[in-house]
């Protein structure tokens, strides 16, 4: 398990591994927002939590199609299936590696981008908290989508189509928590709902992902 985690993280950092792509994408999307809606500070401040959540979600989505497809193409998945590692564990670890290399940097970068979008001072803590709590769910749900589309050539677009509707509850509760935090309201309810979604998906989705992966490889 640890070997797989270390390997995936190592691969992400090596040339062509795609580490930082999600982060760069997040930055660019955030920079483009004022160009599209105008530079009014008040407007930017009020949409900042939502924009940052959406940007993080799309940045997460960006690297999903490499998550399992590369291992499928070079035969690693076949070998992993015949290895002593339970497939449920393997997909959980791969989702964790995805979160460490994609989700975590996004969480850390979000406050900096919050400054660019004039996020109210009260919102920073809640934005980071909601992203830290919600992005693991994005990685785990995304892994399920990647498992569904693993054998499909050019499955990237289909992957987005399948995963985005599944992201709706996470996005709603995550962005709502960040928004309430920024407005100085009590964000406890959406945060708790978000935590519920994250724990449930982290606990249950790997079983669905592994089942789907077995069906797809057959």
């Amino acid at each position: 398990m640890k070997a797989l985690l270390v390997r995936d993280i190592k691969l992400a950092f090596r040339a062509g591994g795609g580490f930082g792509l999600g982060l760069a994408f997040f930055l660019i999307v955030t920079v483009l927002v004022p160009f599209s809606v105008g530079p009014q500070q008040a407007l930017l401040g009020s949409i900042a939590p939502g924009v940052l959540w959406l940007g993080a979600l799309l940045a997460c989505l960006l690297s999903l199609d490499r998550l399992l497809a590369l291992d499928f193409e070079d035969g690693t998945l076949d070998l992993l299936v015949t290895s002593p590692l339970p497939l449920e564990g393997a997909v959980s670890v791969k989702a964790l590696a995805h979160w460490i290399t994609t989700g975590l940097p996004l969480v850390l970068a979000a406050p900096v981008l919050g400054v660019l979008l004039n996020l109210p001072p009260a919102g920073f803590g809640w934005l980071v908290a909601s992203l830290a709590l919600g992005t693991p769910a994005l990685s785990v749900i995304g892994t399920f989508g990647a498992a569904l589309t693993v054998g499909i050539k050019r499955g990237g677009l289909l992957l987005s189509l399948l995963v985005l509707p599944l992201y709706v509850p996470t996005l709603i509760f995550g962005a709502e928590a960040a928004r309430r935090g920024a407005l100085g309201l009590d964000p406890a309810t959406p945060l708790l709902m978000l935590a519920g979604i994250t724990f449930a998906t982290v606990g249950l989705m790997p079983f669905a992902s592994a089942a789907v992966l077995r069906m797809g490889l057959r």
């Binding site: 589309t149 289909l158 189509l161 509707p165 709603i172 989705m205 069906m215």
Partner: protein, 244 residues
């Protein structure tokens, strides 16, 4: 004798051939009579005027949009547990019908909403939920199209339907939490435990709902038959190819 014998594709085809004519006639009768009765046989609403009559399309379509997904959920489960081809092909056949019903519900809703609420679209929980349902249908159909091996496609789409159902319910509550809406409560009597519309409007509405249900059934039977024949052709061709 058990119900599962109709899970055999050939038996299913012969039964469906017998039932279909009756279904089509009954569905046509109910829809036509229900709509004519609704459009011309009922008075205008004192507040909503004649726009209220779109209810006879909107409510049955919305009802079937949800029921179609529910049916797909059940037939997908049957496929995963008992591996009956007819079951999963029925789910595949129902998806586009359900998607069209969703679109009808959304479009008629917009047409109804414009004079009532003064806007074509509002991010009301019910409308938003239907939009999300539409996306789920889209993903389900796209996944079927993308996978070459029919059994793998059946497996993966079935799991997607199951997981999607959970997330659809979750989205429903998330959306409700996110925005309290404009939409009136449901008009479907079983859901409310009583009637919310008066008798004059209610009977033609029931007629339309029954008609849409029968129409859905007939369409699904017809489309399932097509899917079965496609698979049968493929199976025969594959074996003929082996002889050459």
């Amino acid at each position: 004798m058990s119900i599962w014998q109709y899970a055999n594709p050939v038996k299913f085809l012969s039964l469906s051939a017998k039932v279909q004519p009756v279904l089509w006639v009954a569905a046509g009768f109910c829809v036509v009579v229900g709509l004519i009765w609704g459009f011309f046989g009922t008075p205008d609403d004192f507040r909503q005027g004649s726009t209220v009559k779109i209810i006879y399309l909107h409510v049955p379509a919305a009802l079937m949009a949800i029921n179609a997904w529910f049916m797909m959920l059940i037939t997908s489960l049957i496929w995963l547990v008992r591996r009956h081809h007819v079951s999963v092909l029925a789910a595949k056949a129902a998806a586009p019908v359900g998607m069209v019903m969703t679109v009808i519900a959304l479009v008629t809703g917009a047409i109804w909403g414009q004079p009532m609420w003064g806007t074509w679209w509002a991010w009301d929980p019910r409308l938003t939920s239907f939009l999300i349902l539409f996306l789920f249908y889209l993903g389900y159909i796209a996944l079927w199209e993308a996978i070459e091996d029919p059994d793998t496609a059946a497996d993966l789409t079935s799991v997607l339907c199951l997981v999607g159902s959970v997330f659809a319910v979750l989205s429903r509550y998330a959306v409700q939490f996110w925005n309290q809406g404009l939409h009136q409560g449901t008009s479907v009597p079983v859901a409310t435990g009583g009637r919310t519309v008066s008798d004059v409007f209610f009977y033609p509405l029931v007629m339309c709902m029954v008609g849409f249900g029968l129409l859905f059934l007939a369409l699904v039977l017809y489309r399932t038959g097509t899917e079965i024949r496609l698979r049968r052709t493929a199976a025969l061709r594959a074996r003929a190819g082996g002889n050459v």
